[in-house]
Amino acid sequence: MNVPLTLLGLLERQSSHGYDLKRDYDTYFSPGKPLLLGQVYSTLGRLARDGKVVVGPTEPGAGPDRKRYVITDRGATEVEEWLTEPVETEQHLQTELFTKVVLALMLGRDASAYLDLQRTAHVARMRELTEVKRTGMLIDKLLADHSMFRLEADLRWIDVTQARLGALAEEVRK
């Protein structure tokens, strides 16, 4: 997740205090896994240093959050470019799942039992996400969908690998 560009994007909607930014970020992009406020301020500090945001005057009142951050033209251009670029596809993806299966086969362990267990864990997670989708807001559903499709992709891989274990074992033990 690109935190600086996401915060910049939120600032393009409207200028904002650090705390409000954090709250919007947590709500839309990271429910259940909030940003640390310290990270928000250090990121905003770097964005200011690079001329992508400017810091408004300190507002009167109490509390630490008395500065508004405003996006600059440079910042807005960067957001615009980022939004239209495709994200990196995972060309060199080698997940822990993959590593565990290959190592298990090399060591003569029961890779099939591992895959079954992983499968069960994946479906259990999908069951939790299904509940989120049933009860949540549309934005939660969207995020849950994304996780579910990824879990499904893993599951397809698990099933195909399960069917290929015999041949795979011969190959890695050579």
Binding site: D116, L117, R119, T120, A121, H122, V123, A124, M126, R127, L129, T130, R134, M148, L151, E152, L155, D159, A163
Partner: protein, 232 residues
């Protein structure tokens, strides 16, 4: 219903071959009353055959099938047929609606076959249309319904007689993701509301994720796994 902990449905060591082709090779499975069970597994592994044995459509060559304590595998066809009609509901991949009948008449069919008179049967059938988002479609024939609508009509038909068990074989297999999801939501709601036990055959994990528990069929045998919680 079943007393105590005894399962509502039980298959023990079921073996069944189609000629030379083995479909079940010692399948064991128990389903508790009120449970929603997903049966997963690769194509050709024996899922549909297992479901057909539980539902009394097929009889295994050996092994036992029990429903509510009764030996289904020992029943003669008329008795199994009565069991299917009175206690079970069915949804298949393709709705299998009778094309000559309207959607409403299709839904009313299990009631009519069970001896309910036409007026009350149709009235009961009609009640299912609004709750499944099928308002105004009661008069259509199956050729005039979309895939998702036809599957909902099939669901209503399966549930209209308030069966003890709903058997569904790839109920969303012919639908796109979103439509499939809506049909599954409605299936689960209908089943839970009525306290019906459900056995759902699917190769789709997102369908299985709507169930309380899933089992895998591989090479005609059933594997069920439970996660041991190990740490956070």
């Amino acid at each position: 219903m079943t007393a105590g902990q005894a399962p509502l449905l039980e298959v023990r060591d079921a073996v069944l071959s189609f000629g030379q082709t083995p479909a079940l090779r010692g399948a064991d499975l128990s389903v508790a009353a009120g449970e929603i069970l997903a049966v997963m597994g690769p194509s050709g592994s024996g899922k549909s055959t297992l479901l057909h044995c539980m539902a009394g459509i097929l009889v295994p060559d050996s092994g036992e099938v029990r429903f509510d304590g009764r030996r289904v595998d020992r029943m003669r066809e008329p008795e199994r047929s009565e069991l299917r009609r009175d206690r079970f509901g069915f949804v298949f991949q393709f709705g299998q609606l009778v094309p000559e009948l309207t959607a409403e008449e299709n839904v009313a069919m299990p009631l009519l076959l069970g001896g309910t008179r036409r007026g009350p049967a149709l009235a009961e059938a009609r009640g299912w249309f609004p709750r499944l988002g099928l308002d105004g479609l009661g008069g259509r024939r199956s050729g005039e319904l979309s895939g998702g609508q036809a599957q909902r009509v099939a669901l209503a038909r399966a549930m209209v007689a308030r069966p003890d068990v709903l058997f569904a074989d790839e109920p969303t297999g012919s639908l796109d993701s979103l439509t499939g999801e809506q049909v599954m939501e409605q299936l689960v709601d209908a089943v839970r509301e009525n306290g019906t036990t459900a056995v759902i055959v699917t190769h789709e994990a997102r369908v299985a994720a709507c169930a309380d528990r899933e089992v895998m069929v591989r090479d005609g045998k059933v594997t069920s796994l439970r996660l041991e919680r190990t740490g956070p």
